[in-house]
Amino acid sequence: MRLKPPSMDALTIVRARVHEAEGRGRRAFALFQAARHPGPLVWILPSHAPEMPMLRGLPRGVGERLHLLRPAGETDLLWCVEEALRAAPVSLVIAEPEKPLSLTAGRRLQLAAEAGRTTGLMLIHQDAGSNATETRWHCEPRAGSAADSTLHQWTLNKNKRGTLGSWTLNWNGASAAFHMVSEARERHEPEEPAL
């Protein structure tokens, strides 16, 4: 009997598509993805949003690649997201829309991402996503038993071209490196045949 090791690829989001993340740990998830995307990053957040990324807390190499756009309204925000997704040199666009994304908006963003070969990540409020999204992640920080563990539980709730799943990992927010944490649990799926 052998458990399939959780692969690195499980946490890699598909390029040139728009993804969504919700939950209290969504900003940590966004920074985790930002650290794994080389190239310029664009973070779009409303001008009145109180939460700002703090430069000294960001993963290594992210701060100097980050461009911050603070549009005043929701329309401007979506326009900025679309424009940034259409720009080829940008590698990852992170946006924090205020209102639920409509299907039209989500679809438009997908088309823009495909046109610009750019990945998008929408940090949405709970259940405020669009059906056009490629994947939707629910991200929660978890309390760790050891003193230096910073555990995250990232659950893949929706996936257009793959299976769902839930991963608990130990990522300290400083670099792109992380450790998977295997939890003792009861197996629900049938055992895989030995290769």
Binding site: F32, P53, R70, A143
Partner: protein, 446 residues
């Protein structure tokens, strides 16, 4: 005359402080206009213009007619002016300030002989010394031997006299014009289609960019003015994230503004100007590889976004030398700054998000609190790291830091979130129920 004396004579005198900068600007504008009379026009002091009209006057029908034409035009514009035409620069300067007129060729000594010696651009002390020995007019100086004159009154007086009489050459030194980055185009028939305007704009842009290339400049801001048939003017203005002189890339940024204009009954004139330019060294294009193209494309994105939401909302995070969390980084406009690498991290970890301090409701005493409520969520402390004491910067009066020192704690909660809490031990607040002190949340860790 002193102002007090003038007020004593005429109590109703209206006075206004001199605005030297605007006066100089007005004189500069007048100098450009005076270019219609002569190719070489220079400013002469703070209140004069000097034009070299050699070989020009016959175009206006003679020197008298030229001067008449000049006076008529200035009078129509509401300007009172005095002018003189003479064979040398010194003579013209002297005569213009003492009556004006035209000195015919070869009669300089007669023409300016009757003027006082102060007209010779000599300093006050020299003029006084001349008056003391009874030399009050230029004509008195002309027959005197030069050597004793120079020995007694200095070489400056002889130089000025020679310059006025033409013995010493003194050319009109016209300062070079600052290049004007503006082009215009008038059309025989009005146009109204968006594509037509873009074609016209493209032609203007090619001319403007050629001019920018010649002067090694790049535009930072561009303004397109469209004059309509009904004499209305529409204006489209764009900013650029970095100096640029590439017509096709600039035209793409104009597309949105041109799309929004109302052409009315048609547009019959276009004017394109670059009000803001910056030096841009010539650079090799094409061969530099994809890195440069990427940089260009990113600058284009920042330009187009900045033109819609404002360039002050397109930001970059820059490190700053401060331990105060709010001031440990700067939000700087991305269009005017370059990215800076962060010094290697040291000291206590910092949260990934920072927000203005939000009070938490503490239900138990203890440092740090074992239980608290924040944003209507209940948290219980699992592990706390700290305190990290941060003192306010006494040389910088920040209202948020008037409560004094802050002890920061990294609190890992049983519910998951890892928060950055602080308490202000120096604050004079009344303790809460049960002696609890006021705690605030300011950030969240990864």
């Amino acid at each position: 005359m002193a102002l007090a004396d003038a007020r004593a004579i005429c109590p109703e005198l209206a006075t206004r402080p001199a605005d030297l900068a605007r006066e100089a600007a007005a004189l500069g504008a007048l100098r450009r206009w005076a270019g219609r009379y002569a190719p070489m026009v220079a400013t002469d002091g703070v209140d004069g213009l000097m034009a070299d009209i050699s070989g020009v006057s016959h175009l206006f029908g003679g020197e008298q007619d030229l001067r008449g034409d000049l006076h008529a035009r200035l009078e129509r514009a509401g300007l009172a002016a005095a002018s003189a035409i003479a064979g040398t620069r010194g003579a013209a300067h002297a005569l213009a300030r003492h009556g004006g007129g035209v000195v015919p060729d070869g009669r300089l000594a007669e023409g300016i002989g009757h003027l006082p010696v102060t007209a010779l651009r000599v300093d006050h002390g020299t003029a006084e010394a001349l008056a003391r020995v009874g030399l009050s007019r230029i004509a008195d100086l002309i027959p005197l031997p030069r050597a004793p004159l120079a020995r007694r009154f200095g070489a400056g007086l002889v130089l000025r006299l020679d310059q006025a009489l033409g013995a010493q050459a003194e050319p009109v030194a016209a300062e070079p014009d600052t290049p004007h980055f503006g082009v215009r185009m008038t059309l025989p028939d009005p146009i109204g289609l968006q594509a037509d305007v873009m074609v016209g704009l493209m032609r203007l842009l090619e001319r403007l960019c050629h001019k920018l290339t010649l002067h090694r400049m790049g535009a930072r801001r561009l303004r397109l003015e469209l004059r309509r048939v009904d004499h209305g003017t529409v204006q489209v203005e764009i900013g650029l994230a970095r100096p640029m002189r590439d017509p096709t890339r600039i035209a793409a940024l104009f597309a949105r503004g041109v799309d929004e204009i109302d052409s009315g009954f048609g547009i019959d004139a276009l004017r394109l100007s670059a009000p803001l330019t910056e030096p841009l060294a010539p650079e090799q294009t094409g061969g530099a590889g994809p890195a440069l193209r990427h940089e260009d494309a990113l600058a284009d994105l920042l330009s187009s976004v900045g033109n819609r939401i404002g360039f002050d909302r397109v930001l970059r995070l820059l490190p700053a030398e401060s331990l105060i969390p709010e001031r440990s980084f700067l939000l700087a406009p991305a269009a005017y700054t370059a990215p800076e690498t962060l010094p290697p991290r040291a000291g206590a970890p910092r949260p990934i998000t920072l927000f203005p301090p939000e009070p938490v409701v503490v239900t138990t005493t203890g440092t740090p609190p074992a239980c608290f409520r924040w944003r209507r969520m209940r948290f219980s402390t699992l592990r706390a790291t700290g305190p990290e004491r941060i003192a306010p910067e006494w040389w910088f009066d920040d209202p948020a830091w008037r409560t004094g020192l802050r002890d920061y704690w990294r609190i890992e909660t049983r519910e998951g979130p890892r928060l950055w809490l602080f308490v202000t031990p120096q604050s004079q607040d009344w303790p809460g129920p049960g002696g609890a002190r006021s705690w605030h949340v300011q950030g969240a860790f990864a």
